[in-house]
Symmetry: C2
């Protein structure tokens, strides 16, 4: 396995864009990325696309060549990866393997989702396809209710409180307010978070991420080649994908995700680092409780300590371990198929010192955690400028 770098990155703003279709969003992110890397479409040797539910959201399947040909990429393998909300994380993982093992020298990885053209009830139904439709979903569960059960159990087992959950929301909204590409640039108070209407108790409105349109892309090259295209290549120090049961009721303990622990362990091993070495991270805060569980599963804190850690301010921009400086899924937005690669774009911007108002001071090694469903898929990536 040879060293691999992200040579370029590009993404669209996240939001509700009634005038934009799926393809135009994906093409915009891809062209921005290629321009960022001074690479022409004809130099791309393979196209990896993450998308969760294009067929259900916009009626379009066979999405990889549908997008790649519009970017100007022809002939080469163009493939769609689907792993629920970890779809583009998974595309990135497989693209990394192909470049690291010498198959390709220039691979474009993108993620896209166009969700806002469906009414919210239908969005909830489509998202439920990431759960077990022959079991939990058939029984009436939706993702807010699944994560509500996780939150309830975490509260019972570890004393986590609604204030802990709200602290995640307040912090991510504060961060998102600094992000010009965020869907919701709105500072909220802890009182507002606590008083918001319930979605699935104990999760209230501000505990839930957004329904979004958007796309993101990164360009992968062998590390030595990347230097010919950019002065600021970002090294992929480690990346791993792991899996687990789709149905929450098949898991032994719903307050921890074995797939996250497994992927993290492998990514840390590959990178030769541990949780303490990670200076900042983009975590998959599809719900506030998910960020708390991720802190624990990634080894940033002990089990059960995620809530108090959030409330202490340690995960704020100015804290010891800044989490979701971009605003996270909560505030930046969560076009599900785009999220995994968008997290990487955010890490790249930080590591390159191009994050503008979001820029962190300790920015040389960052981690992204991209979760699919209620923990059935996880991709953990560690990037650095070393």
């Amino acid at each position: 396995m040879r060293p691999v770098a992200i040579a370029a990155a590009g993404k669209t703003p996240f939001g509700a864009f009634p005038d934009r279709d799926l393809r135009s969003l994906a093409v915009e992110a891809c062209l921005k990325c290629l321009k960022n890397g001074h690479v022409s479409p004809s130099q791309v040797e393979a196209f990896y696309l993450g998308n969760f539910a294009g067929p259900s959201f916009v009626g379009q399947n066979h999405l990889a060549p549908y997008v790649s040909t519009a970017v100007g990429i022809r002939d080469v393998p163009a493939t769609r990866f689907e792993a629920a909300c970890a779809s583009s994380g998974s595309a990135f993982f497989h693209a990394f393997l192909a470049v690291a093992s010498g198959v390709y020298d220039c691979v474009l990885v993108a993620g896209v989702e166009k969700m806002t053209s469906q009414p919210t009830a239908r969005v909830t139904e489509i998202l439920a396809g990431a759960g077990d439709c022959s079991g939990e979903i058939k029984a009436g569960s939706t993702f807010p209710s699944l994560f509500a059960m996780i939150a309830r159990r975490h509260m019972h087992q570890f004393g986590t409180t609604r204030e802990h959950l709200a602290a995640v929301a307040v912090k991510n909204h504060a961060n998102g307010a600094l992000n010009p590409d965020a869907q919701m640039r709105k500072v909220i108070t802890i009182e507002q978070a606590l008083a918001a209407r319930p979605v699935a108790e104990p999760l209230h409105l501000y505990d839930c991420s957004l329904i979004s349109d958007g796309a993101a892309a990164v360009l992968l090259m062998p590390a030595d080649r990347a230097r010919d295209f950019t002065e600021k290549p970002v090294r992929i120090l480690g990346v791993a994908q792991a899996s687990d049961f789709v149905a929450l009721d098949h898991k032994q303990d719903i307050t921890t995700f074995p797939a996250v622990r497994r992927a993290a362990q492998k990514a840390y091993e590959m990178a030769g680092v541990g949780p303490r070495d990670i200076q900042f991270a983009e975590l998959h805060d599809c719900f506030t409780i998910a960020e708390i569980v991720a802190l624990e599963d990634l080894g940033f804190v002990e089990r059960g300590a995620g809530g108090p850690f959030e409330a202490s301010g340690a995960t704020a921009r100015t804290g010891e371990k800044p989490i979701n400086a971009s605003g996270g899924l909560k505030s930046k937005g969560h076009p599900v198929g785009a999220t995994g690669v968008a997290q990487l774009c955010d890490l790249v911007a930080q590591i390159r010192c191009e994050a503008g108002d979001m820029q962190l001071k300790r920015n040389s090694i960052g981690l992204a955690q991209n979760l699919g469903g209620s923990g059935a898929t996880c991709v953990v990536s560690i990037l650095g400028n070393v």
Copy 2:
């Protein structure tokens, strides 16, 4: 790149199975495959699943861990690949890359589709998602009509006749009648084929493949390791994936598919063989015209010569180049996400001399061609016992 072999294969019968759900079909194929290779689920290092439209057909997304955990595979990367009707061909291609480049030593590749739970009109609509929904599909095209246009143009340009198309159907039905796992074991005459009701002129009922449920799986290992698990490993001599425009109206010439030519060229190069060396093949006869065009794009015959070649009997079991000895998509059935891997299972059975009544005499090197949409994706694989 190290040599890679298929160490095991397994599949379900193809048909309409109202009592079977998607997962049980996929699990059956996977367990048959693992049993065939004397491999336990815990030995599998990654799971690659091809599926076209599980979310639309049965409401289930996030399919790879949904299937893999039911097979008993945990922790490892489990990923779904979607490339229209070439979904599992694409999964196979990527799994090959990972094993050939040394990432994994034991990978399970499966394909599955459960189509018959939807009414035919809805199936047609879902399949249309493999076309360009912002153009040709919006304008009213369905896949029968797209391939009807291809057939019309082929007739105009090369003098291909309805009798040529019917010859494909008659031959594939005769072959399918020998296949115990085929959906339609029914010999038909050329008169029956010509007299059948029109679907989209010039394509009539017997020119169209079937709506099917089914699954298939193969197990990949480095060639030297495969010998520890089977006395009959089958070498993957070459495999390539290529892409092109999704919309038929974006193509310069609709009587040839550049993605097929490109994938074939690369697969031949990798295998160090040419079209004349291929002794038999499983081609993607989603419509009879598709088999004729494939013969030409793969270099088995000159452009325009596919129709007469079929009518001459050259592609029959007893001909110089047996095509679709399994019965093909036409008669064996076409659960779209399963088709690519099922073709490989059919090649493996022939090469291992385990094809029963379907067994061909010249069986040492075979080719599978798996097409997505109207040619936007193609995967060509060449297997052999050399």
